[in-house]
């Protein structure tokens, strides 16, 4: 149990940074402070209603109030939310059920293309009808369809793959992730379904007249760009709420316990009457479904989809989020998604800009013994373009030093004491890695 004064401190920090952010919506430090307070709310234990209230105040008051002055804030947090939902989905597959899925972006792609094809003129290429499907219910209907399509694909891929040993599954999902991308790239002939490498654009967005009139009533005037930024922010927040709720309920249900049982010892689980293939399929389809709905939202938000958004890098990015946060941990997945997105969009880019400025001004770093003129720094040194290296380092270091992640799953924490005792009793030679 966290002492009360720490919670009070978090509340004070949240309020302080929050006010600072509303006053200066473009500066980086208050933003980082607000995210720090959010992280703290998620990572400490106990005082649940208080932490919940702080997080809600930050998300529903501070960020919208600052966001209407600076659209980018909505963009950043929406991106975080999309990744957080996907990390939560992958967390079910990798964290809870212990199945390494390296083709997770494929489900995201299916969701994105589901809306992209019918929410643009693309569908007219292969069927008759009046496209794009504009008007309010269509987007929501197709978001639901995206969930179903992704879950179906998950089941289809899972059926052959899940009967195999865990490490084969990794390579099969890796391959099928590529297959989906190759299909998206090449299904522009003989029948043009995906429009190939050019991608599909423009994609319809749901009408938001109600939100604009609400904003007008509040005296906020930012035009449709701001309206949609706010809309997608709220939409993603609502979906995240549902996803978290589903995750928590699943975690404590028959399903969740079966997944963990399969992960810990498949043979023992089978002896207890759990069907491994069916249980794994359920995990696979559930994880895919979360990714599918976010794909539909992503395509509407971006107005554009192309096969290049669904690469292996995308799958590994989401995996890095789950690993960083802690496999099997719901709070961990959210924190991991926020941290990696912040690193990717904010920190690396700022660092790149900083280096570029040093390079332009020809700043000379003089350490007495050696001196270095930044004008000579190669333009290949651009941290924002080296995500692979960053994710690689995150994965390696986490696995070596903290395999259970920043916020370990509660079950693991409870087992920890027992496990170290067991380790001591096992002879060194028996400790084989896989």
């Amino acid at each position: 149990m966290t002492p009360g004064w720490i919670i009070a401190l978090i509340a004070a920090a949240g309020a302080g940074f929050g006010l600072a952010l509303i006053a200066a919506p473009r500066s980086a430090w208050p933003l980082l402070g607000v995210f720090g307070a959010l992280f703290a709310c998620l990572s400490v234990r106990g005082w649940k209603p208080a932490r919940f209230a702080i997080a809600l105040a930050l998300l529903l008051v501070v960020i919208p109030a600052a966001g209407v002055q600076n659209n980018f804030l909505f963009e950043l947090v929406t991106q975080m939310g999309i990744f957080a939902a996907m990390a939560l989905g992958l967390n079910i597959v990798v964290g809870m059920a212990g199945l390494l899925d390296l083709g997770y972006a494929a489900f995201f792609a299916v969701g994105a293309y589901t809306w992209a094809i019918f929410g643009s003129a693309q569908a007219a290429q292969f069927m008759s009808g009046d496209f794009p499907l504009a008007g309010w219910p269509y987007f929501y209907i197709f978001s639901a369809l995206a969930v179903i399509a992704a879950a179906l694909l998950g089941t289809l891929i899972g059926l052959p793959a899940l009967r195999l040993r865990g490490d084969y599954l990794a390579i099969v999902t890796l391959g099928l992730g590529q297959v989906v991308r190759v299909l998206a790239n090449n299904l522009d002939q003989p029948v043009n379904i995906t429009n190939g490498p050019q991608g599909i654009t423009p994609i319809e967005r749901p009408p938001i007249g109600w939100l604009e009139s609400l904003m007008g009533a509040l005296g906020i005037d930012g035009g449709p760009a701001l309206g949609y930024a706010l809309f997608f922010y709220l939409l993603v927040l609502a979906v995240i709420g549902v996803v978290v709720l589903v995750n928590v309920r699943l975690d404590r249900s028959r399903f969740g316990r079966a997944w963990v049982a399969i992960r810990e010892d498949e043979i023992a689980a089978r002896a207890m009457g759990i069907s491994p293939t069916r249980t794994k399929l359920q995990a696979f389809a559930t994880g895919a479904a979360f990714s599918g709905v976010m794909g539909a939202i992503f395509s509407a938000k971006q107005l554009f989809v192309s096969p290049e958004s669904f690469t292996l890098l995308q799958s590994i990015t989401i995996l890095a989020m789950v690993i960083l946060g802690g496999m099997g941990s719901i709070r961990g997945a959210i924190i991991g998604a926020m941290a990696v997105t912040l690193l990717n969009i904010e920190v690396l880019k700022s660092f790149s800009d900083f280096l570029a400025r040093l390079r332009q001004t020809g700043f000379v770093l003089d350490l007495g013994v050696v001196s270095f003129n930044f004008a000579n720094l190669s333009d290949q040194v651009e941290p924002a373009k080296y995500e692979r290296m960053i994710f690689g380092i995150i994965l390696i270091l986490m696995m070596i030093f903290r395999p259970s992640g920043l916020i370990p799953e509660a079950r693991h924490r409870l087992e920890e004491g027992e496990q170290t005792e067991q380790m001591k009793a096992t002879p060194a030679g028996k400790r084989r890695a896989p």
């Binding site: 099928l176 190759v182 496999m327 995150i394 390696i396």
Partner: protein
């Protein structure tokens, strides 16, 4: 039209076998590591890529000094083998061994580490090449004697460089076979693959054997990188991924953990892929062309895992409790 397809067959098969030699060499690295550790070493694709890049560097720096293209190619092969072998050993020492030591109960830990190493190496090579030469897309230079085309019966043709690739690949594979079957180290590798704890009781230092296994597998991968570069010329830091996955497929096809299986699997997969890429185009009137040849390998992998997961030469194993 069917006539044209039949006359084409021998040369398509020959080309498939060439590609298969490269796959087989990479597959050996996967299968040997899987044999001793039970780990799918995702980073092996990058060991292969580093071999290809090391070969380009040899061409870049020794090319102006050495006239004979065969000597140059052999120098590239030897240096790439050294660089890749050392890299594979370093990966094992720095990433996999610490994880083996702390012995986490989670089976995914080594696999995820391997993916991390793979991604890290791609960008590391990109950064180094970028700083060194200002760009990271590379080419193996063509030389006339290497491109010389021999006419063979049945309308087949073969280039000098293809002969070189076959000679190098076959001699390396025969050498590996001798090494594993006839030497002390080979016996130790087989013992560790069979039962690590028991092998360590018999006076074998498992860490040493594992390290040597990575060295040998890495060296083979590096050589495969140079051969790949000689055949297809264009190289970049991301070139390892696709051949890597296919070579893994080849290893599974032959029966993972089985050295002869990896060789056979590589040759079979290379041939099937080239045949599929060429003939599906004709059979479907161009609807399914060469762009689907990567998909082809994965389909083979999935079908294989469904119907014969132990591979062509592997034995079915029950799961131990």
């Amino acid at each position: 039209m069917s006539n044209a397809l039949i006359t084409l067959l021998p040369s398509v098969v020959l080309e498939g076998l060439l590609l298969g030699c490269v796959y087989a060499m990479i597959a050996l690295g996967y299968t040997m590591v899987y044999g001793v550790l039970g780990l799918i070493n995702f980073a092996h694709a990058e060991v292969f890529m580093v071999g290809a890049v090391a070969g380009v560097e040899v061409y870049r720096y020794l090319g102006p000094l050495v006239d004979n293209p065969y000597v140059l190619a052999l120098a590239a092969v030897i240096i790439a083998a050294g660089v890749s072998g050392a890299l594979a050993m370093a990966i094992e020492r720095l990433a996999y061994r610490p994880i083996r030591r702390h012995g986490s109960s989670n089976r995914l830990v080594p696999l995820i580490t391997a993916i991390g190493v793979s991604f890290f190496l791609q960008d590391l090579v990109r950064l180094i090449e970028g700083l060194w030469h200002g760009e990271f897309y590379m080419n193996y230079p063509a030389s006339d004697p290497m491109e010389y085309l021999h006419e063979l019966p049945f309308g087949m043709t073969i280039q000098n460089k293809s002969i070189l690739v076959m000679v190098v690949a076959v001699s390396m594979m025969v050498g590996l076979d001798r090494l594993v079957r006839r030497t002390r180290l080979g016996r130790a590798i087989r013992a560790v693959a069979q039962d690590l704890p028991t092998a360590s009781l018999m006076g074998i230092d498992p860490d040493r054997v594992i390290s040597r296994t990575f060295l040998i597998g890495g060296a083979l991968g590096g050589v495969a990188g140079v051969l790949f570069g000689l055949l297809y010329s264009q190289i970049n830091p991301f070139v390892g991924f696709v051949p890597g996955v296919k070579a893994f497929t080849a290893a599974v096809l032959g029966g993972i953990g089985n050295i002869h299986g990896a060789m056979l699997g590589g040759l079979v997969l290379g041939t099937l892929e080239t045949l599929g890429g060429t003939y599906l185009f004709f059979l479907t009137d161009g609807a399914i062309g060469n762009e689907y040849k990567d998909v082809f390998a994965f389909v083979i992998l999935v079908l294989l895992l469904l119907f014969r997961p132990q591979g062509l030469l592997g034995r079915a194993q029950g799961e131990k409790v």
